[in-house]
Symmetry: C2
């Protein structure tokens, strides 16, 4: 079974927003063995939306759209489907009631425009939305199943998970397994596993690079889930044996999650001292629920005074070597470890740019200190890219050093 996923919204086609819904839906469809063949994005233009929906119905048995079900005049997905099906829009009494209730429950005043969200093409079913005012719509037309879902990701997920996913047929099984590596280039990885990078109908291996992380994707298709899993896992084992410790995790795992699990397991605690990353490392660590078990906190020492007062970095050290230097990264890591009485302290200082670089200390220069009870190691890097890329790379690289330390 093939699927086409359509994202609707001027903000997407004009570049003011990024479509994340299609990606989410693809992942879920694959779990049922349904192949997401294409993602299409169109603007808030009724003719374009109708054309893309009609074409998709001709090409795929399953068509899912997101967006364009809002209360404002530029929301035209309901109208577009009605046009494709050649029917009128009618009010769904139950949806109208639910929308009114939504506002009463929240003691908020309803805008009359919200009631347009209770409209549906005649002959279709509405799909309850439990967290927002835009119900989804389900239709069957010319042999295809069509689902219209709201655009806000949390509402889309709620409607999809409760009302659509359980209805979808299971068509054999496709399993995706992704192994994540950090700190080694894509072409080096590609070469190390060149002979394992098959590209057949039933087994595909690909790589994707992003911000220092290279991920190896295995896609295995089979008649049933167990068989697909076994094929994928067998290949994953071979790749793991080849790449060893370069691989830090798989699938949904993130570097911060893996490091968090390692800290939790070992009963160790961590504190961070951040300069150029400004809190990003702390944010990454605390994106993991339960991080308070091992993360004690940190200091964002954006000013020299903060480095001296809160992290006990000697003022002379900053004067002699500059705030972005190996000795200062070392003192920050040691200082924050002591201040928070943590087992590990990380100190990051660098030049994120775009200004502030020099021939001797270019933009992208970052020193990362990692302190434990035995001492402090400091690593020097020159990261490529722009301000935000440099900061992300620095934060992740610090986490990776801690991972390597914890795995020895």
């Amino acid at each position: 079974m093939d699927a086409i996923i359509i994202a609707i919204g001027d903000e997407l086609i004009n570049g003011a927003g990024i479509d994340t819904n299609s990606s989410y839906l693809s992942q879920r469809l694959l779990e049922k063995g349904i192949i997401p063949r294409r993602h299409i994005t169109v603007g808030d233009n009724i003719d374009e939306i109708a054309k893309v929906i009609a074409d998709a119905i001709n090409e795929a048995e399953l068509v899912i759209t997101t967006g364009g079900l809002g209360p404002t005049r530029d929301d035209l997905t309901r109208q577009a489907l009605a046009k494709v099906m050649g029917v009128d829009l009618v009010e769904d009494a139950r949806s109208a009631e639910r929308i009114k209730e939504f506002f009463i429950k929240r003691s908020r005043q309803m805008s009359p425009s919200n009631l347009t969200q209770a409209l549906k093409p005649a002959g279709t079913q509405t799909l309850d939305n439990d967290i927002g005012t835009a119900p989804g719509i389900a239709a069957r037309y010319k042999g295809s199943d069509i689902y219209l879902l709201p655009g806000p990701p949390n509402e889309m997920k709620d409607v999809f998970e409760k009302r659509v996913f359980p209805q979808l047929p299971s068509c054999g099984a496709t399993i995706q397994k992704t192994l994540h590596t950090f700190g080694i280039g894509e072409s080096i990885i590609g070469e190390k596993i060149a002979d394992l990078m098959t590209n057949t109908e039933n087994l595909k291996v690909g790589t994707a690079a992003k911000g220092g992380q290279v991920s190896i994707r295995i896609t295995a298709k089979a008649d049933n889930l167990d068989e697909a899993k076994e094929t994928a896992e067998k290949l994953a084992q071979q790749i793991r044996a080849r790449l060893g410790n370069i691989i830090f995790g798989q699938d949904e795992q993130t570097l911060q999650g893996v490091v968090g699990d390692m800290l939790k397991k070992s009963g160790k605690t961590l504190a961070t001292a951040e300069s150029c990353t400004g809190g990003m490392l702390g944010e990454m660590i605390t994106s993991i629920p339960g991080a308070s078990e091992y993360f004690l906190g940190g200091v964002v020492s954006y000013s020299n005074a903060a480095k001296i007062d809160l992290l006990t970095v000697p003022a002379e050290l900053i004067q002699a070597h500059g705030a972005v230097s190996e000795p200062v990264a070392e003192a920050m890591a040691r200082g924050v470890k002591e201040k928070f009485k943590a087992d590990f302290g990380i100190g990051i200082t660098g030049i994120a740019g775009p200004t502030g670089g020099s021939a001797e200390k270019p933009v992208g220069l970052v020193f990362i200190g990692l302190a434990d009870d035995k001492g402090v190691e400091v690593h020097k890097h020159i990261f490529p890219g722009e301000r935000q890329a440099i900061r992300q790379r620095a934060s992740l690289t610090a986490l990776n050093y801690l991972r390597l330390k914890l795995s020895t």
Copy 2:
């Protein structure tokens, strides 16, 4: 002139990655009056890629693809274009030299597979890539201009900006202007400006909501840039008059950028004390180059000990009211203001979930303290959504309170 933008990669169609390239390209095309009509995403399948490229050539005068130019076996965009054009792949000598040089300059070893990146369909031109090993490709076929660009966003941008954008014709002008509001619901905003939400060929107004921010997009088309700008600005003025202080900025402006500018202008400084946001507020503030002029730093007080030791929050206060409470948010804001000798101190404490909530203190409950020389104001919120959404909403809401304070 219509354009179709195609993103290529299994990681995109399978949901392991998100396409941000198409969005970037759309924005840039609109500036030349070229209408991005559709974004299409396909996987690493040569037949699918070829079909989508061939269809796009039939429908649009400009076709841009990103991705699939890497060195590994799953990179098939060159081959797909060659198939569409019915020609062979040939080596581009200049590109082969540049790729070899790339590795020599960086003292890195070249993988033989990198040389496949010097291949191009016969009769096409390569587009130099100054920061990576995948050159772009330019072709003219059946009356359409086709550009193949590398997938990594920094390389895509480099090749596009240097080699493609300057070549594109200017087709009249389309101007997009976006006004950003914070803290008010989309339907309320939609209602306040209902009569201004036109949707004609030459003037469109739409809204989009995300994480507490509602943006109002104006798209104006005209024969020349000045005329389009004037139309858009005239409507923007009407909307500004209607919404007043709810609007915090426009276009590329962000809340953190606007607040940063206000702090810089007023010569005031800021320090932050973050509990549930874990450094996210600091990260947002320091994402702005030059933030060191007004941001002194912060404390991530994830543990109670950190609140007491580093922020001088009285232990009894935490005992009496809990770490997530109005008095603790107040003490954190005041404590960090004093510790860093800043003009403003922000304190955030809350329950980001998914666990840790109770009937009395549910997940999403966040207290935000804002201290200045006159005292501390504390705001209580219950934010919807999941952990990361709650944290983002809390960080942005804190910035918005500071904005409102600075604008009085």
